[in-house]
Subunit: 125 residues, 2 copies
Amino acid sequence: MKDILEQLKQQGYKLTKPREKVLEVLMHNHFAISAQDIHQKIKIIDKASVYRVLNLLEEFGLVNIENVNNEKLYCLARDPHHHVICKKCGYSEEVACTYSFDDFKNFINVQHQLTLTGLCKKCSN
Amino acid sequence: MKDILEQLKQQGYKLTKPREKVLEVLMHNHFAISAQDIHQKIKIIDKASVYRVLNLLEEFGLVNIENVNNEKLYCLARDPHHHVICKKCGYSEEVACTYSFDDFKNFINVQHQLTLTGLCKKCSN
DNA sequence: ATAGCTATTGCAAATGATTTGCAATTGTGA
DNA sequence: TCACAATTGCAAATCATTTGCAATAGCTAT
């Protein structure tokens, strides 16, 4: 986490409580989590600020994003991996990222976002 | 298109104008398009109905979905492929889908949704 | 330490995509 | 053609995310 905060600081961004807190939650949460749920865990921080921090992290490619039920789920971009997420209950499991891209001729700064959704065993009964 | 409508009919769904019109737009549009833009092209159909049709198609796995700027983009699921989409202007190009999944032990009915976003040449100046 | 400048925050209100309740309409099978 | 259930259009509600702005808090130089 220090790494990331330092990295941001080097870019001229201040080291603030919202940034620290949101990163803390992401650090301790190995699965994809929504902005709403992050805010739930750190109510001291305003929801708008949670969104602002997440957008900053996204801009720097520091988080992976997945979309489930019209809501973005965030996860720190450690090793490239994704999640299978149950559409009903939200249960998820890690999946290694095996995707490799050719270079894009006409695009720069391409980021990918893979969302795998399905029904977990429990919910499929 | 007849195929899809027939397929739905076989499942007990009625053959209605909204379903026909939305499919028509998707047929003629090889790139990812938003519900809003679909509605723009067929204003006779209510926006709510456009959404209902799209959700139905999604349920049946007949469309691929990508997420750009908090908005879902739909594309008929013909051959497995995706799009690189410019975050700024919306310009997009097709990309073959090279993703292959292992079987999932604890999930069924897994669908994948891959979104590639970046900046196109024009917008990167 | 302090002062001062600017980035960042919290708050409340706005936005915008998507969903929903319900009465009216329409497709389908008899 | 009739009757019934599914589906629509409309308007209002939801819900995630964004934004304007005044107040606050980092950071740098003194």
